[in-house]
């Protein structure tokens, strides 16, 4: 039994091209040819490109009614070929089993997308071998935009994705006009770098805990976005707010940057919105990279996924629909659980063991210095607050007790550039925060303080927002998934998205400046791309929370 090797789309493809120096075709060429074949099939066929994209999500049955976003309805997308025949939909059985499955804002994000890629890779390889007489060991290439190679500028989309024709003269299916890039001028690249607030990175790789139940001791970090590496412990979640570190950055960031928002009409690119993203062939190379990072996190980082049975058995353990992929034109299903795709070394693919790996399993490509561990961070915090500590003299528990201590009054509409607001603190609740910081000791661990944007709604999926508290920068986040979360009758009940930010350091600094005795915090929210009229972003409430031990 063979082991498939997924290779770098730049380095192993002669700089992201269709033809090797030796004049042979590259993996990218075979990918393009097989995508052509899948795109020639009608959406009715479960092995068509269009059906596969709808497995991730669609705006076809879930039609958008809001005139501002109708351009995202699949019937209006010019990239979709007439051969897709969108008027003849698959049977409702097929639609109910397979469509709208993608898992976002959840601990199922990494395994669901792994199964999705394995199924697609097998359909593509079948086409390459049987219909195109191509290489029998073909595997999906990955785009590692964080690679610091000196040979190629790998943060750019591989050139094969921007050519208009293939070497054989046919139209290049890898080229998608509805791709606008981070600055909206159709220059497609991923912003990487220390001087850009909304830049992609692989800091997530330092996180050592998959999810809350995998935190075996209290010194485990709860992650940059408070949901650990893999995400929040939810049921089936076709879009949600419990986004893990890997999913937020780089995953969501890259979606937003590649899709982008067009300068000419402020429209989102296909990659920027979950229900259109999988139409773009770059999607699968992006996800192969995310999958590679997860594999590296396990193998090189020596981190384990959670052993929680509700994760291993998948969403059916919580009464939800199962994960499944069609493997042939008649719609035969490969049902899978996270346990089936727990390791790339033995994926349980349709009753057989399927093995693949990557030509690069470095834990990080961009970040070089691991962050301080939680225990040291705590020591640093104690010394900052002037608490004398004896090494190991304090004990943190896993207990986390969040409590609201302040909130904005009324909802907030974000302006194009920056929106400032005051978030009022409730005096008695806030006093408990300042008390806990002032009376901090090794036996009384001071509170942590969080800011949460609650009920964020809008349709600016490719956009980013940056949050500041009392003029200090906190963090930037991507709004990938916002439109679906704001639609009624979608899978979320239009509650919008929530975003959580740890602002403990800023509060500690205020304490050191003797400024804790205040009745409000100044919060400023900046959007990366401008917001045009009718496409504003609203925030139901900004909440400030203390999390005590």
């Amino acid at each position: 039994m063979s082991k498939y090797l997924r290779k770098n789309a730049w380095d192993a493809n002669n700089g992201g091209q269709f033809i090797e120096k030796s004049n042979e075709f590259t993996a990218l060429f075979w990918y393009a040819k097989a995508v052509q074949v899948m795109q020639s099939r009608p959406i009715e066929n479960p092995t068509s490109w269009w059906f596969y994209a709808a497995i991730h999500g669609e705006f076809l049955i879930n039609e958008i009614k809001d005139p501002n976003y109708k351009y995202l309805n699949w019937k209006n997308i010019s990239y979709i070929s007439p051969k897709a025949d969108l008027t003849a939909l698959p049977s409702s059985n097929l639609v109910d089993s397979f469509w709208d499955q993608c898992q976002h804002g959840t601990w199922f994000f990494p395994p669901w997308h792994r199964g999705y890629l394995v199924a697609l890779e097998n359909i593509l390889r079948d086409i390459i071998i049987n219909e195109l007489s191509g290489p029998s060991d073909w595997s999906l290439p990955y785009w590692n935009y964080l690679n610091q190679s000196t040979a190629y500028a790998e943060f750019k989309i591989p050139p094969a994705f921007t050519e208009s024709t293939l070497p054989d003269g046919t139209a290049n299916p890898l080229y998608v006009p509805e791709r606008y890039g981070p600055t909206g001028n159709s220059d497609i690249y991923v912003q990487v770098g220390p001087n850009i607030q909304t830049s992609a990175n692989d800091e997530c790789q330092w996180n050592e805990t998959y999810s809350a139940s995998a935190a075996n001791n209290a010194s485990n970090n709860s992650g940059l976005f408070g949901q650990f590496y893999g995400g929040g412990e939810t049921g089936f979640s076709h879009g949600g707010s419990e986004t893990g570190d890997l999913e937020m950055n780089p995953h969501n960031f890259v979606h937003g940057m590649v899709g982008g928002e067009s300068n000419s009409n402020n429209q989102n690119g296909l990659m920027g919105v979950p229900a259109t993203a999988a139409l773009d062939p770059i999607f699968y190379l992006h996800h192969a990279n995310i999958d590679r990072m997860w594999a590296a996190w396990n193998q090189t980082g020596k981190n384990n996924n959670t052993a929680n049975p509700n994760w291993l058995h998948g969403p059916t353990a919580q009464g939800d629909r199962r994960f499944e992929m069609p493997i042939d034109p008649s719609g035969t299903a490969w049902p899978f659980t996270p346990e089936d795709v727990n390791s790339t070394e033995h994926v349980n693919y349709n009753g057989q063991t399927y093995t693949y790996t990557y030509d690069d399993l470095s834990l990080t490509s961009y970040e070089t210095i691991p962050p301080t561990k939680l225990h040291e961070k705590m020591l640093e915090r104690f010394s900052k607050l002037g608490v004398r500590t004896v090494e190991k003299g304090f004990k943190m528990t896993k207990k986390r007790n969040p409590e609201l201590v302040g909130a904005s009054s009324g909802s907030l509409t974000l302006n194009s550039k920056a929106t400032k607001t005051q978030v009022k603190l409730q005096s008695s609740s806030w006093k408990s925060v300042s008390d806990s910081i002032m009376k901090a000791s090794v036996s009384k661990i001071p509170d942590e303080v969080y800011l949460q944007l609650e009920g964020v709604k809008g349709g600016s999926d490719s956009n980013f927002i940056s949050v500041y508290v009392n003029e200090k920068f906190v963090k930037s986040i991507s709004l990938f998934g916002l439109l679906s979360a704001s639609m009624t009758n979608a899978a979320h009940g239009n509650s919008g998205l929530n975003f959580k930010f740890n602002i403990t350091e800023i509060i500690d600094d205020l304490h050191l400046k003797n400024d804790l005795n205040m009745d409000s915090l100044n919060v400023e929210i900046k959007t990366k791309n401008p917001l045009v009229e009718g496409k504003e972003i609203t925030v139901d409430r900004i909440g400030i929370y203390r999390v005590g031990q």
């Binding site: 353990a317 009940g493 909440g543």
Partner: protein, 253 residues
């Protein structure tokens, strides 16, 4: 933000205890402490011949009171997620007040619905005493309603847990309004199912338990696109089966 495990369990246990307590009152009626019957008719004598006679036997106000108890027993556990959400989103000292106002709003909608429902029940009992026809008729309506897009719309709306204001009068007002709204979506999706056991001449209690199970299950399902669809919303049953299987498997290993 997620409520701490301790508070989460406290809410769950409190709500379920209240609900169970009321169930015991309704089903067992220990020591006959309840002077009224929650079940509609138990006409044991000759069939009622006049409305006033029926009302004598089934006075309207005690009937409505029984209806209220039934709503508390059956529906309270469904409110756990909303109450948890109110708790985590409110200042500590107001958590109970806002949750209470929400429940109050919710129950009052069911009581208003109850006025009509009890009138219908009494009316049908008067016209067709001890007949299965009203129950069968309602059952058919409930089935049609069950698979309709309108019902799906109501269920979807039931997932609309909005963020409430945190301060002052607006916070109290909106908690109550949230209860009203949530109650309306709940009555909208469940009125026919609730009516059915009330019209059954026999096996009323069993039907009530089954309806509770179905109603809790269907509110656990994710929102879906509203359309005509044959779909059994037995999520609670699926969870129980799946979790039992997992437990058994863990024991074997």
């Amino acid at each position: 933000m997620k409520l701490s495990n301790t508070s989460s369990w406290a809410i769950r246990i409190t709500i379920i205890s209240i609900s169970l307590f009321v169930w015991v009152l309704l089903l067992i009626n220990p020591g006959n402490i309840m002077t009224i019957e929650h079940c509609h008719v138990t006409v044991s004598g000759p069939p009622a011949t006049s409305l006033s006679m029926l009302l004598d036997m089934n006075p309207f106000i005690p009937q409505l009171f029984g209806w209220g108890l039934m709503v508390i027993a059956m529906m309270l556990p469904k409110l756990i997620p909303a109450i948890k959400s109110i708790y985590v989103h409110s200042f500590k000292r107001y958590r109970f007040l806002y949750a209470f106002l929400f429940v109050l709003g919710y129950l009052s909608i069911w009581m208003i619905a109850g006025v009509f429902m009890v009138a219908v029940i009494l009316g049908l009992n008067f016209l067709m005493p001890l007949s299965y026809i009203p129950a069968i008729g309602t059952f058919i309506i409930a089935i049609v309603w069950e698979f309709s897009p309108i019902k799906q719309r109501f269920l979807n709306l039931g997932h609309d847990h909005r963020i409430l204001p945190a301060f002052g009068w607006p916070a109290s007002r909106d908690s109550l309004l949230y209860g009203f709204r949530h109650g309306m979506w709940c009555v909208g999706s469940g009125w026919a199912l609730m009516l059915f056991p009330m019209l059954l001449p026999k096996m009323h209690n069993l039907a009530m338990i089954m309806v509770t199970f179905i109603m809790i299950s269907e509110h656990m399902e994710h929102p879906r696109f509203p359309k005509w669809r044959f779909h059994l919303r037995f999520k609670l049953l699926r969870i129980l089966i799946a979790q039992t299987k997992i437990k058994l498997k863990l024991q074997v290993n």
